[in-house]
Structure formats: structure tokens, C-alpha cells
Amino acid sequence: MEQSQDLTLRRSSRASQIREYAIQGALIACSLVAIFTTIGIVASLAFEAIRFFGKIPISSFLFGLEWSPQTAIRSDQVGASGAFGVLPLLTGTLLISFIAMMVATPLGLLSAVYLAEFANTKTRNLVKPMLELLAGIPTVVYGFFAALVVAPLIRGAGEGVGLQISSESALAAGSVMGIMLVPFISSLSDDVINAVPQALRDASYGMGATHTETVTQVVLPAATPGIIGSLLLAISRAIGETMIVVMAAGLAANLTANPFEAVTTMTVQIVTLLTGDQEFDSAKTLAAFAIALFLLVLTLGLNIIALKLVDKYKKKYA
């Protein structure tokens, strides 16, 4: 009896086992694409950036205060020295991102809290899809609106009160970017707030706290690590954003903290340097890769910290 069972097992097994392994192998190969993509990104950026740092010393890139990328066409050309300091780009990026977060954080968090804690089902079912719509609008549309409507409006308002505001002000680009980030912060925070266990709310109600007191003194403090994680992810998104700033922010590097002035960002420079008629090897085009590598390190760093925070927070309440 057992003999024949053994045979049955053995007969059909070889062919199908090989097929099983082959399929599994194919699946693993597909999954490795993700790793290869990361390797590809890091390799391509690093490779070109290293070539850049062969022409321009890394210290003048990281610590230089001036950004005016020129390269000599002839060795005796006047004005051949270009400055490749990334700091003005970094400050421009941070200024615009800061303005964006100033707009997005209160709007996003208050919306999330209201929808998660106070709104009834009807309101939630109406508002949530609308916020999703806001999230789905391509950034080129935001950029167009920022340049065409918001920037002139802000400039006009400034003139009305006697302020000189640039038509490419950081304020215009930053505020529109802020609105773009609202659904991002809102949906991430919504998840985080809903993860706070009902038991904590019950404990607070049981002691005679109002709903708002429960939210502000129990739920939000409990959700804080998760919320900070969402905010960090939003900042990372803001730093890497391209189209809104390309269309609404300036091109000239400007080391300032004044929101009324025009600044340029890292992403704008990457686009500018690579969408002209440049040969691929010049220091200008290689500079774009150096900036991109810097940008990648910055955003990945923020993401890793953010994901760690959200992870730790979720584990606390799992």
C-alpha cells in the first residue's frame, strides 16, 4: 500500500517540481527589479556626480555661497569661472518648502482631525473624495495657476500696501505648493489618528472631558510620533517637487529668507541645466547630477526617519 503511494508521489513530481522552481525563479527576478532600480539610480547619480567633482572640488559645491553655473568654452574666455555652490539652491528650496508647510500643516491637520473625529458619515463621504481630487491634480496645473493667477495677485496685493513683491516670489510658489500638500498630510494624519485606540478616548470621556479636550489632550499627543512622520514625508515631497517651482519660482540663485523675493531651488536648476543645448560632459550638465545626488540623500534621509517614526508608532498600538 505504501509502496504504490510512494511511486505515485515520485512520478508526477519531477516535471511539476521543475516548473514550480522555474516560476518561483521568474517571480524573484521580477522582484529584483526594485533593487536594480535603486542601484541604477544611485549608480547613475553617483557616477556623474563623481565626474563633476573631478572638475569642481566638492568643498566649493557643498559650502560655496554662490551659484552661477558658467563653463568656459575657450580656455582664455573672460568670465570663465563659474560658481557651483549649492547653498543658495538649498536655502531657496528650504524657504519655499517652509512656506508650503506653513500653509499645509494647519490646513491638513485640522481637516484630518475634523474628518476623523467630528464629521458625520455624510460629510466624510462628501469631503474625502474632494480632497482626493485635490491630490490627483497634476503639479503642472498647480504651477500654471501659481504663475498665472497667484503670483500676480500677490504682487498686486503687495503694491497695494506699498511692498515690493517679485512676480516670481517664493510666497507664490510656496503657498500653491502648500495647497498641493494638504491632501497628502490630511490622509496620512487621518490614518494615524484613527490608529489611536478607542480605549484611550473612552478613558477620557469617562472622566468628563469634552470631545475637543479628548482630541487635543489625549488623542493628538498619543498620535504625535505618527503625525510628525507624516509631516516629514510632506517636507520630503515639498523638497523634491519640480513643476510648481519651475513654473512659478525664479531662475537666479538668491541667498535670502525673504518670501517676497524670487529664489531658485535645486529641482529648478536640475531642469534648467539639462533642458538646454548642452553637451553631456560639460561641468554644467554634470552639476545637475551632483545636485540630484544631494537632493536624493536629503529626501531619502527624511523618508527613512519618517518611516521609522510611523513604524514605531504603529507598533505601539498594533
Binding site: P197, A199, L200, R201, D202, A203, S204, Y205, G206, M207, G208, A209, T210, E213, Q217, V218, P221, A222, K316
Partner: protein, 263 residues
């Protein structure tokens, strides 16, 4: 099955009264025409098999059922003679007079001190920082936890053991100076030693507070309470002096539950 207003053998004045209470979750009826008096400064135990509605009934007393949208409460429930479901009543104030301890300890992710200070803070019960500290220490002492945590009041409440956390929740409830403390199976997640500590605590607490406890352990009810009410399938089958209920129940269902034939 109807029950008349139960007689209170001890002759104590009832601090809470319930008359003809029905509770519905949507279409499902969870509590059917229950009437019960809660005597002051005593421990009343609500017992019965799981799912018989005792927790639901308990939560009527501090209107925690309000937080569940599909829950509807009908009937007359009075605290010190005042109908607590009267629209003029501020539920926030009500809950500062009637505290609650839950089945699973739920300390806030704050320090031990802040856990206990939360209630006094939102109700503005303290006049100064020192006064607040007094309240916290007194509550911890009354909950029998002070000696164990006096040197680490700044540590998170969640760093305590299960039994300590539950005593922390009791201290937290006490800090608001309520008159009644409702306890929903407070020891079901604790080991026998922690349970014993809390039962001893409850006994000392009844001098100052009125306690209503829901428990699935008959032995616990027999140990701690002066009055017991037996629930079955949403109805109050029988209630009265704990000793009589356990040694000489009037109804057959009560007898069956106590001897382990049902539930």
C-alpha cells in the same frame, strides 16, 4: 419577566435609581425593563453570563452609551434624584461625578503624574501647582499605589505592570473626586495576586465612594459586594443582599447560574 423596585435590606439611601430601563443597539434589544437601586457607600455587583447586558447597563449610569451612535436608552435613571438623561444635564459634568474604570487598563501615554492630573486639570479642580500635587499624591495613596511609584512619577504610565496600571486608572478616576465609581470587569485581565490587591482596595474605597462593579466571577461578587444583581439575557432576574442571593436565591434561574448549570 418584571421585577418590582428591589428592597434594600441595609436601609441605605439609594444614590442612583433606575426604573424600567430599555437599551437598544439599532433594532436589537440589549436591556429589557430593568429597575435597580444603587445604595450609597456600598459595593453593588452585577453578575451574569457573558453577553447578558451587564456592561451595557453599567454604561447607562455615566451615559457612556452616548458615544455609540446606534445605542438608544429609554427609561428613568436618576442620580441623587436628578434624571441624568434630562436635556438640561451637562454630560461632561455628570461624568466628573461618576467615574469609570475599564476592563483593560487604559493609561494615557503620559507620565504617571500627568495621567492622574489630567482630570483635575480639565475640570480646573486645583488652585495651584502644590494643590495639584496634593491631589495626585492623595489619589495615589487612596488607590494603594503611592508607595510603589512615589519615586518615579515622571515615568510613563504604560511602564507599570498590568495590576499597577489598573490601580493607576483607579487613582485617575479618584482624582476627580467622584461620588460613584463604575468598574467594568476591572480584574478580568489580571493575575490572582493583582486581583486580590484590587479587591482589598475596593473594600477600603467604599467608605468614601459608591462602587458598582460588573464581574463575570461569582466568587469575586461574593467576596466584595454587599448587594448583587443577577442579569440574564438582558433582564434583571433577581437582586438583593449578596449573602441571600448566593445562599438562598428566590428565582430558579439565579439558582441555576450560581450552581453553574447555566452561563
Amino acid at each position: 419577566m418584571n421585577t418590582d423596585a428591589p428592597s434594600l435590606d441595609s436601609g441605605a439611601k439609594p444614590i442612583m435609581t433606575a426604573r424600567n430601563v430599555d437599551v437598544f443597539y439599532g433594532k436589537k434589544q440589549a436591556i429589557d425593563n430593568v429597575s435597580l437601586d444603587i445604595p450609597e457607600n456600598q459595593i453593588t455587583a452585577l453578575i451574569g453570563p457573558s453577553g447578558c447586558g451587564k456592561s451595557t447597563f453599567l454604561r447607562c449610569f455615566n451615559r457612556m452609551n452616548d458615544t455609540i451612535q446606534i445605542c438608544r436608552v429609554k427609561g428613568d435613571i436618576r442620580f441623587a434624584g436628578q434624571d441624568i438623561y434630562d436635556p438640561k444635564v451637562d454630560v461632561v459634568a455628570l461624568r466628573s461625578r461618576i467615574g469609570m474604570v475599564f476592563q483593560k487598563a487604559n493609561p494615557f501615554p503620559k507620565s504617571i503624574f500627568d495621567n492622574i492630573a489630567y482630570g483635575p486639570r480639565i475640570h480646573s479642580l486645583s488652585e495651584s501647582k502644590d494643590h495639584l500635587e496634593d491631589i495626585v499624591i492623595t489619589s495615589l495613596k487612596r488607590a494603594g499605589l503611592y508607595d510603589e511609584v512615589s519615586d518615579r512619577l515622571d515615568e510613563p504610565g504604560t511602564s507599570l505592570s498590568g495590576g499597577q496600571q489598573q490601580r493607576l486608572c483607579i487613582a485617575r478616576a479618584i482624582a476627580v473626586d467622584p461620588q460613584i465609581i463604575l468598574m467594568d470587569e476591572p480584574c478580568s485581565a489580571l493575575d490572582p495576586i493583582a486581583t486580590a490587591i484590587i479587591e482589598e482596595l475596593m473594600d477600603s474605597m467604599k467608605e468614601k465612594y459608591t462602587i458598582v462593579i460588573v464581574t463575570h466571577s461569582m466568587q469575586q461578587a461574593a467576596r466584595v459586594s454587599q448587594q448583587t444583581a443577577f442579569f440574564h439575557l438582558g433582564e434583571l432576574v433577581e437582586s438583593g443582599d449578596t449573602q441571600s442571593i448566593f445562599t438562598n436565591p428566590e428565582k430558579e434561574r439565579t439558582q441555576n447560574y450560581i450552581s453553574g448549570r447555566i452561563g
